[in-house]
Symmetry: D2
Subunit: 151 residues, 4 copies
């Protein structure tokens, strides 16, 4: 029996203009490791911080979403580490909702420092209640899909 | 331009007998989140702790590997969250080297609590020196591939 | 106006025999930093893991204590870093309840590797309910005070 | 034998005007715990991030200080948790160098959200080289002591 990933399907573009949002953060010294670079586990909270900033920018701060009884559980996670991040780097995290179904959505991420790609990533989420049961996907998520539409 | 994952190819089996090693750890309260479960980012150090235990069990503790000038950089990471982990859970992490090439190796993981599957994962690694340059893969890694051979 | 510490008063002994419990853990690579040592923030989950092990050893696992509606909120924290911890170190955390009042208790810690002192610490706690309101201190905490009594 | 704290002596004021610098950060969901609040261990990287911002504001970014061969090792840490932080809080960390000797310096911190005090803290540091040996304290640290002087 093989554990297939049935959901993760979105390929994050390497062109920042393909993303609708960007969030900047600065790496912390606590996130470095003995190789002198940012430890690979530290990227996961970066992605989450960028998602929270995207939700806030879209008028749906995650603490309010949660107060309304909706959690966005993480179902799958994929990260590709291309070039290391270092302490003090200012990281631009470009992100968009890449795929949206009735039960899940996928977010794509491109991490750059000064325009140089360091990493790309995808997360797959479901909307669940406080007991982890599936909820209908909030309609406003559709507004976060893909790049900003041209006028 | 699309960011293809050219390396990650191993599908972690859901049958623990397909793995050569198992490492048990206990979740920490610090690793819980406001949903009352273990935060998804906490799994990444679990996988790393299991890799380090596998290397020690194979007679190549990672601190000695590093003292010999070899780091195992993480190139890609995939985690599938099936059922949540909770505070106090004793987690059995089954793992093996799943694929081994001249330049990379992949490790597959199955996380279970009391025989119930909670998560599966794959990491892709390269051997690099202290400056991040590729090194020849240590030969002993071949001994960690797949399940324990039947006699 | 000065923020006085009115509660933290316990001085953790440097002699392991002065403690009632010991918990061993192994440092993680994820907990190292670019100085090549365990980052000082990683000690705080170590102390918590040792407290949880102490509660389990005393027959009161923290997940069951929490299920009974009691949380042990952290009021104050003091850590003294004497010698660094490194990746792969097996750390013996000696600990006891050092002071116990009607509303708070203090836990003292001594961290050693192979009998060498690396760090000492104190935490101050209150028993609170899920809304953070003070609760009566569980009576069994008195059994965790000080070293194992001589027969 | 008792482990005395010989160095930590600074009492962090509760009046923000007593501090020279302020750094604002936003809490992360990954930093929450199953009590629904920010876990007490998450504060330690907050303090470190604020120190790094203070050094940058003073014209001595910590990555450049480290490139010059100076690390600021943490010798002692004290945190008092007064009111919890929550996910999404914007935290103002007021900080100054509180004491400066030939071999150590102490930093005091006041954490507030919307003007309400949540926590105060002190860290004690030494200047060390890459092998952890004591170095002469950089002279410019004297410029970070106490509140901004009145004109």
């Amino acid at each position: 029996m093989i554990a297939r990933s049935v959901r993760l399907s979105f390929s994050p573009p390497l062109d920042p203009s393909e993303y609708r949002f960007v969030h900047r953060l600065r790496t912390r010294f606590a996130e470095t490791d003995a190789m002198g670079i940012i430890h690979h586990s530290a990227y996961i909270p970066y992605l989450e911080e960028a998602r929270a900033a995207m939700l806030s920018a879209a008028g749906h701060p995650y603490d309010r979403v949660r107060a309304d009884g909706v959690d966005f559980a993480v179902l799958e996670l994929y990260v590709r580490y291309r070039q290391p991040l270092r302490f003090g780097d200012e990281v631009d995290i470009h992100l968009s909702v890449g795929e949206l179904t009735r039960t899940t959505f996928q977010v794509g991420y491109l991490l750059q420092v000064a325009g140089e790609t360091r990493s790309s990533a995808v997360t797959v989420h479901a909307a669940v209640d406080a007991e982890g049961r599936p909820l209908r996907m909030p309609l406003w998520l559709a507004e976060l899909v893909g790049p900003e539409p041209a006028v």
